[in-house]
Symmetry: C2
Subunit: 203 residues, 2 copies
């Protein structure tokens, strides 16, 4: 298998962390530079027509796009340890929290990043006012998430799951829009320190 | 089971369509008015702290938020007909296309809606310039999707799946931002007519 990835983007990191948690180390990593626009060159667009990263190419040539779809495929083929849950309710609750982390944190950080950071100037139309609204929304969501984490070791269930992995990718990505955990995020900082100490966090 | 729903919003519709496709008709529907702000009243916030719709309450009181998490729970408990796929690759491809439909269509329509439609004036800070950018992005994505649909009956695999259901909810929701299929969307219009004729589309 071949994973088209980028070392700075949060979604490829999710797949690399997932592979590390599953102790899978035989996937070939192909770095695609977003900075140099390699993801919008014909070679890569033939793999992923939207130019998004990551993409997974199976040995038979099948291509799977979207980080979570890729991780679900890996979960199906290497079920242990289960990171999407085991029972119907566990699976639903982990999916619920994964989606909260994707929409409320990761995707909203991305809106702030794209509309505020000079990296995107001249690449896309930027609307700083909307970037600021998005940034403030993430900060509000971090307060909500900190409250949720009171007395909890993990985000969705009582063990590490794909929701924790997604939250880590989203929160760490906040740096591109100067969004960081604050001192008053006591529960979230405790969780962040714990999750960041897992070897997979370096992937 | 009790489903907290709203008759105008696309995500509750996804769950209602899913229930219809599964021929499940014993779920109690509780309408929550977004127009009257019922989703931000304490009663509903106790169920769903973000005020999002839908939410599913199981008979033991467990609450599942997020439309796709709810549908996955239903798929686990009522597997036939499978709408999330059967094999590992099918499941991945359906998830990939579901996510494309969620992020590229549904969520982007929502950004256009929230920033352009007078319904939101005074309720949230609106940035019309960003709404217009979002609207144009959806229109671009519809062109891309039309091309993808050439020679295809369904979006993800060769049978109806959750990706089709999500695309229908997203495309129909376009009306709130005056985004509609155009005459040149020949493939997409053929698909839309076919999917809309399923009894579930009325749910």
């Amino acid at each position: 298998m071949k994973l088209f990835t980028n070392q700075f983007a949060p979604n490829p990191r999710r797949v690399r962390m997932f592979l590390a948690e599953k102790a899978i180390d035989d996937v070939e990593l192909v770095e695609v530079s977003i900075k140099d626009g390699e993801n919008h060159q014909p070679d890569y667009l033939a793999i992923n027509p939207l130019g998004w990263l990551p993409s997974l190419q199976l040995d038979d040539g099948t291509i799977i796009c979207e980080s979570t779809a890729i991780c679900r495929y890996i979960e199906e083929t290497v079920p242990e340890p289960p990171l999407f849950g085991s029972t119907a309710v566990e699976k639903a609750i982990i999916d619920q929290w994964t989606r909260h982390m994707e929409f409320e944190i990761l995707a909203t950080v991305a809106l702030a990043f794209r509309n505020l950071n000079k990296f995107w100037a001249g690449r896309i139309p930027q609307v700083p006012e909307f970037g600021t609204i998005s940034k403030e929304l993430v900060e509000k969501r971090l307060n909500w998430l900190d409250k949720h984490m009171e007395g909890r070791a993990y985000i969705a269930t009582d063990s590490y799951s794909y929701a924790d992995l997604t939250a880590l990718a989203g929160i760490d990505f906040g740096r591109v829009a100067k969004i960081r955990l604050q001192d008053h995020h006591v529960n979230l900082k405790r969780w962040h320190e714990s999750i960041s100490s897992r070897p997979s966090a370096k992937a």
